[in-house]
Symmetry: C2
Subunit: 489 residues, 2 copies
Amino acid sequence: MNFDNFETGAELSREEFDQRTPDLRVELLNLQFDLRSADFAVLILIMGDDRRACEELTDRMHEWFDPRGLDTEAFLDEREEELGRPLFWRYWRALPPKGRIGIHLGGWAYHAVAERILTKGGKRRFARRCEHARAFECVLTASGMSIVKVWLHSSTKALEKQLDRADKNTHGWRAREYDRTILEHHGKIEKYGEHLIEGTESDWAPWLVVESTDKRHRDMVVFEHLRDRLAGRLAGAVPAPFDPPLEAHASEPASPLRQLDMGVTADPAEYEKELPRLQRRLSDLAREARDKGVSTVLVFEGMDAAGKGGAIRRLVRGVSAALYRVTPISAPTEVERAHPYLWCFWRQMPRAGEIAIFDRSWYGRVLVERVEGFATQAEWTRAFGELRDFEAQMTEHGTVVAKFWLQIDTDEQLRRFEAREHTPYKKYKITDDDYRNRGRWDEYVAAVDEMLLRTDAKHAPWHLIAANDKHHARLEVLRAVCKALEAKL
Amino acid sequence: MNFDNFETGAELSREEFDQRTPDLRVELLNLQFDLRSADFAVLILIMGDDRRACEELTDRMHEWFDPRGLDTEAFLDEREEELGRPLFWRYWRALPPKGRIGIHLGGWAYHAVAERILTKGGKRRFARRCEHARAFECVLTASGMSIVKVWLHSSTKALEKQLDRADKNTHGWRAREYDRTILEHHGKIEKYGEHLIEGTESDWAPWLVVESTDKRHRDMVVFEHLRDRLAGRLAGAVPAPFDPPLEAHASEPASPLRQLDMGVTADPAEYEKELPRLQRRLSDLAREARDKGVSTVLVFEGMDAAGKGGAIRRLVRGVSAALYRVTPISAPTEVERAHPYLWCFWRQMPRAGEIAIFDRSWYGRVLVERVEGFATQAEWTRAFGELRDFEAQMTEHGTVVAKFWLQIDTDEQLRRFEAREHTPYKKYKITDDDYRNRGRWDEYVAAVDEMLLRTDAKHAPWHLIAANDKHHARLEVLRAVCKALEAKL
């Protein structure tokens, strides 16, 4: 990858431009119209080493497309609400729903290059950003999204000329001053731009590098490319996202669930003493985390009637209600279905210093969706890596992540179901579905085992908890959360 | 209204509390369960002159209700994204959808009292906040929401005692210091609290004032009240929101639409010269507004084929795509239907310095929804005041607001429909619906006239534009937007 190869000096005469433009614009608007009722969204990333060209191209997109169908986001100044969340939160938040075109001006690529230039020792972070970007684009492609990435390149010499011309103009001195500063870094922007393109080039989200010096040539190349991509996609040319084959385990792994000692119980006297002590401890830790701006994400999964709700209630008993939020995950809404499946979870990332507790979570992808067949094998297979990357982003941001699987055995579950027949609490009423799920017990066990093996990570560990004894489970959860926060604070 | 009357010294013994609690908690959880499938949401505002009591009560809500069904928001520190928007944006954003309970700790009441104490000359602003709060609660009630407002009151003496006790505790010195500061203002908090309750008491969103000194008494009163309100509402006791009768016009008003000179046209030569000049001017103004953090809201309404889209495209031609967003308004989504109708528009309020352009808008309530019968007469009648308040909030925040009605006559519309039969642009294809709407022309004219008469305001004016000549209309729109921005900047 070398930008020099793109400095062809190609130009397009005004005459030819004016001749080709009208038909192209009709085609683009009609494709945008067809997109409205299509089952996918389009994401256009506009980046380059020629700032003005990037902005001009974005403006032209608003001119040649119907701006009512565009969701454009310029990623320049960082906002407080963005700085408080994992890096890619801002890009996820600005994704277009199905039927629309999203334009990210700068986007993740801008932040990656800017950070690489402005901070020392950023080589590893830069490489990491590229990995996250690959993962990001992979998830989006798998959801059906069509991704177009444009890099507008100009030689330093051409940029200098451009600025000299601009200087004769009396307006916009501030923008020019800014551009002069950027120009000093142009060599670096090119260098890291080349690295970035190499690191994030893919079949499903390829880069289009265009020389930006001649505006007519530049726009014609970009819009014809857009037309071809959009027309192809609407005609059914779905790009195949990277489908990593599941790595085989080195040897047949032991089943974590079967290894769990299900007979463990808590001493009643110890429970009475420990529970309030741990709750007070967590109360203090939560306040300290708030003061330090450290966020926490807690995931609760478990067999039906394993006691997730009860464990969560005991967990938060001492914590100020202003500091945490419990999010129950159920079937996705219409708006959520118009986005990639991780979108709704990204939106729930806690603000700086807050605790987000998920009662069921993104692991539904490799549990209920896998077992019930709502996700294809390709989808849940791919999900292991996607979920690892998702959580890695949290911990790299400094968020504390802990995940809990609450396990009970079939006899205990049946006892609890039967006990619920007599409960005065309506929400615990058992339905036929609950009994039906028991028939799939072994399939769930297999899915859980694989999930535990493939998504356990040092920074985002699974806590596998024997929950036949509720008291034991509640204490274990509290201890683990306190420990995770203590380690971070 | 005098808090002294609530200092009854009522207490509840532990014995009685423990005896009444279990049944009450079962009832509350079962009511919350029933709420899940009900067609309304519950909003609980917790405020008072006893900070600790407010937080304790909120924590107890999380204990006695299932926290998975609660959307709790503590309104204390102001966030950057909130400061950039009109005042009530933050409360609208935190509203629970149907089936859930929202808890606003402090909420609008906290900000109103805090501002009244901390800033001078805030008497008018305070009164204005109360008016907005009334309007807010009125819209929510009309959407079916059930609102419970709790004020926890303590005498200064009791608060001093509470703090003295807390001082013996070694922990939490910072919270105590904070409480000491608040205590100095306690007299004022009480005074403005009384004003606030008087100013925002209503049949549909009544205040519950409870003495907070005895925790058991306090919680029992609040939760029994909640149980009764929730049970009543679930049993069908829908509170009637304030339904202001439409004020009669002093005399039969002239029809603004009929008074409009539809024959006006733009000179072609002038158009060629003026259009780019105005576009450059707006480009500069938009940048200046961005630098100064001044937001703009532009509303476009008009008869079908009146040229809204074309006018918007010419309007933004010179403006950087990063500075504006065009939002087309169509039928509400599932999530939007689970909220009051203004909710989705509040969410679209622009960030500081940005321009939000609405292609159709909240005026659908008094136009298409009225004419097609999607809104009841009570709903669209009430809407005039609701929309006035909505826009008043924008302008009080400093946002520039301008509204455009583009008018064509029936002959011109027919000509455009027929011309579209031959357009290569798919999006302009005419459907049977378009012709059907023509049959309701007179009803639309009446609705538009009434809208113009009832929602025109000096700070949020309607620009009634004769659009038979597209060039004339586009210039008029550009001129009006430039003028509005110039006046503000």
